[in-house]
């Protein structure tokens, strides 16, 4: 099948996933008073001020105490509430990691952990405010799903499905407006990755806000070199869609993963772990934030710096294809 998405300019720009999250929660709360949002002085950054105004009885402010944000959320969930614990991903998955591990995952209290302004969304604020470890630590905890929606559709669906989910889940997203990536008819399910494009020469697997640059790179590869790329939104990092990985691997094409996370322990290593233990011989490359003192700037500037961009991904893809492509005359 050919690449379906054509030109960059034809992608329709949506809202920040954060705003979609907030709007979806309000919609859910309207019909269900068991929907509870817990915030740690994070209602502003979580775009939840309107929620608090509309549903004051369904919002619990705990102050700047992330450990208790999660511990209290676990107690509320245990009592039957559908609890969204909302805090910047950097604090939620570091300061409160023991509460996530014990009070949520181990005790099986179905809290919906929402990491806002994830990855390098707070780019210029530095490492304290970056979450480049969260996939790794959350993946290493039993009984915790890990999800990074790529666009507004995936975000809304994730929040709706999470509300009804009876097991713990961690969902993270950023605050930059995201374009719509998907064909309209696609359904959303946790653990089932979404093919944005389907091409046989190369597979680029992104998650969260790296799917967009992956798609831009795929468009460039097609336009300049005639390379047909499968772009995948692996929104659920745990459990991985191994069926799709098998399918991509069986094509024998190079596989490239791209994530807004340190290269250790995230999407790329999750895919590699599965594929190589099954004997996969595809060429494989992990792109992400390297293990170094992270550069600061806007999210886009940091992405560009580390090659998480159309030219950066294109260049790695060409390297991976090892000259096995042809220039397309314009």
């Amino acid at each position: 099948m050919d690449v379906q998405v054509k030109e960059t300019k034809e992608l329709v720009m949506g809202k920040p996933n954060l705003e979609v999250f907030s709007a979806t929660l309000q919609d859910l709360a309207a019909g269900d008073q068991d929907i509870i949002v817990v915030t740690s002085d994070s209602r502003g950054s979580g775009k939840l001020v309107p929620f608090g105004q509309k549903y004051p009885k369904q919002m619990v402010e705990v102050g700047i105490v992330e450990q208790n944000l999660v511990g209290v959320a676990a107690g509320l969930a245990s009592a039957g509430k559908k609890v969204f614990a909302v805090s910047p991903a950097c604090f939620l998955t570091a300061r409160a990691l023991e509460q996530i591990k014990n009070d949520v995952a181990y005790s099986d209290n179905p809290v919906k952990l929402i990491g806002i302004s994830a990855g390098v969304s707070y780019g210029a604020l530095g490492t304290t405010h970056h979450s480049l470890h969260d996939y790794a630590v959350c993946r290493a905890i039993n009984n915790l799903m890990v999800v990074a929606p790529a666009d507004n559709v995936e975000t809304e669906q994730s929040i709706r499905l999470a509300a009804a989910l009876d097991r713990p889940i961690y969902i993270r997203f950023g605050k930059k407006p995201m374009p719509f990536l998907h064909a309209e008819d696609q359904t959303f399910e946790f653990g089932k990755a979404r093919m944005i494009t389907d091409g046989k020469d190369l597979a680029i697997i992104g998650t969260g806000e790296t799917v967009h640059p992956a798609l831009l790179a795929a468009q460039q590869l097609e336009a300049q070199y005639g390379i047909k790329t499968s772009v995948v939104s692996m929104h659920t990092i745990k459990p991985l869609d191994t069926e799709l990985l098998d399918k991509l691997s069986a094509r024998g094409c190079p596989i490239l993963t791209v994530e807004e996370h340190m290269v250790h322990g995230g999407l790329g290593e999750a895919c590699a772990s599965y594929l190589f233990q099954k004997g996969c011989t595809n060429k494989f490359r992990i792109m992400g934030i390297p293990d170094e003192y992270t550069v600061t700037g806007s999210q886009v500037e940091i992405f560009d710096h580390y090659g998480i961009s159309a030219p950066g991904i294109t260049s790695v893809a060409l390297d991976l294809l090892d000259g096995n492509f042809r220039m397309v005359k314009k």
């Binding site: 509870i36 105490v65 450990q67 208790n68 511990g71 209290v72 107690g75 969930a77 009070d103």
Partner: protein, 274 residues
């Protein structure tokens, strides 16, 4: 159950927890003996719970924050009919659900605990939910004095006072010792009463081995309307066994055959004297 029978039960529960610790060659002996009277009163005089209808949403909750004193909890739950006592023969054995900390795999256990400073925040969530739903059940937790310095406890105290959670009862098993030494030596937490009151709670002190006094305090809350309840239960680590009382090595010491026999004899004598 008469008061005398309740007193006998405290001795019997001590015998049982020692038996299973002795058999498993592992356990938190001193702390289990210091809190067993509190658990006896909770499960037999205070908590509105039904072993046959354990998931009833209106039940009182008990979440043991000092999870390491699990032997006290297990013998109390078994005695209360949550599971056959013979299950405890597997304590700490390969693949047993009866491990060294409470888990929900054991019938009657509300939450998986063991890491310190986790019980109170979860109880705050349970108490908030009860208030939201206009329910009248109460939420109890048992804190160790060694875990009191955990910041999460003090965060939880702030939140509980802010939301006026007078349905919440935190009981401090104040045996004044922890694994390394006395609380005073390791990390002074006094004056506890003043500190907790300053956090907006209502505080009562009680002899943690006086069953009647415990029952009176625990069943007569809230101590002040709109304030969460904190009970400083003064206890003795290793209570009931002469050579263990206040002796640090029994924090998780396991008696040898001779000392085990002596302990059971002391408890037999105590029971006869009641």
């Amino acid at each position: 159950m008469t008061d005398r029978e309740l007193q006998q039960k405290s001795v019997q529960l001590r015998k049982k927890l020692l038996k299973y610790i002795y058999q498993a060659k592992a356990g938190h002996t001193g702390g289990s003996l210091s809190c067993i009277d509190i658990l006896n009163v909770l499960y037999n005089r205070v908590l509105n719970i039904d072993p046959d209808d354990f998931k009833n949403p209106d039940r009182d909750r008990y979440i043991q924050s000092k999870g390491h004193s699990v032997e006290a909890l297990f013998v109390t739950l078994a005695d209360r009919g949550f599971f056959p006592e013979s299950d405890l023969e597997t304590l700490c054995q390969y693949q047993s659900h009866y491990i060294g900390h409470p888990t929900k795999k054991v019938r009657g256990v509300e939450q998986n605990t063991g890491a310190l400073g986790h019980g109170l925040p979860i109880c705050v969530g349970e108490s908030l939910a009860a208030k939201m739903d206009h329910k009248s059940h109460r939420i109890f937790t048992l804190l160790g004095d060694g875990e009191l310095p955990e910041g999460s406890n003090w965060e939880a105290m702030l939140i509980a006072a802010h939301y006026k959670l007078d349905n919440l009862y935190a009981i401090l098993d104040y045996n004044k010792q922890q694994i390394t030494g006395s609380n005073q030596e390791v990390m002074n937490t006094e004056p506890i009463k003043d500190k907790v009151e300053a956090f907006g709670w209502s505080v009562k002190e009680v002899d943690g081995h006086d069953l009647k006094a415990l029952e009176d305090v625990l069943n007569n809350g809230p101590f002040a309307e709109g304030k969460p309840n904190f009970i400083i239960a003064h206890t003795i680590k290793g209570k009931g066994i002469s050579y263990m009382e206040g002796v640090l090595k029994w924090h998780h010491g396991v008696p040898n055959e001779e000392l085990y026999a002596q302990a059971q004899k002391e408890l037999d004598d105590l029971e006869l004297a009641l």
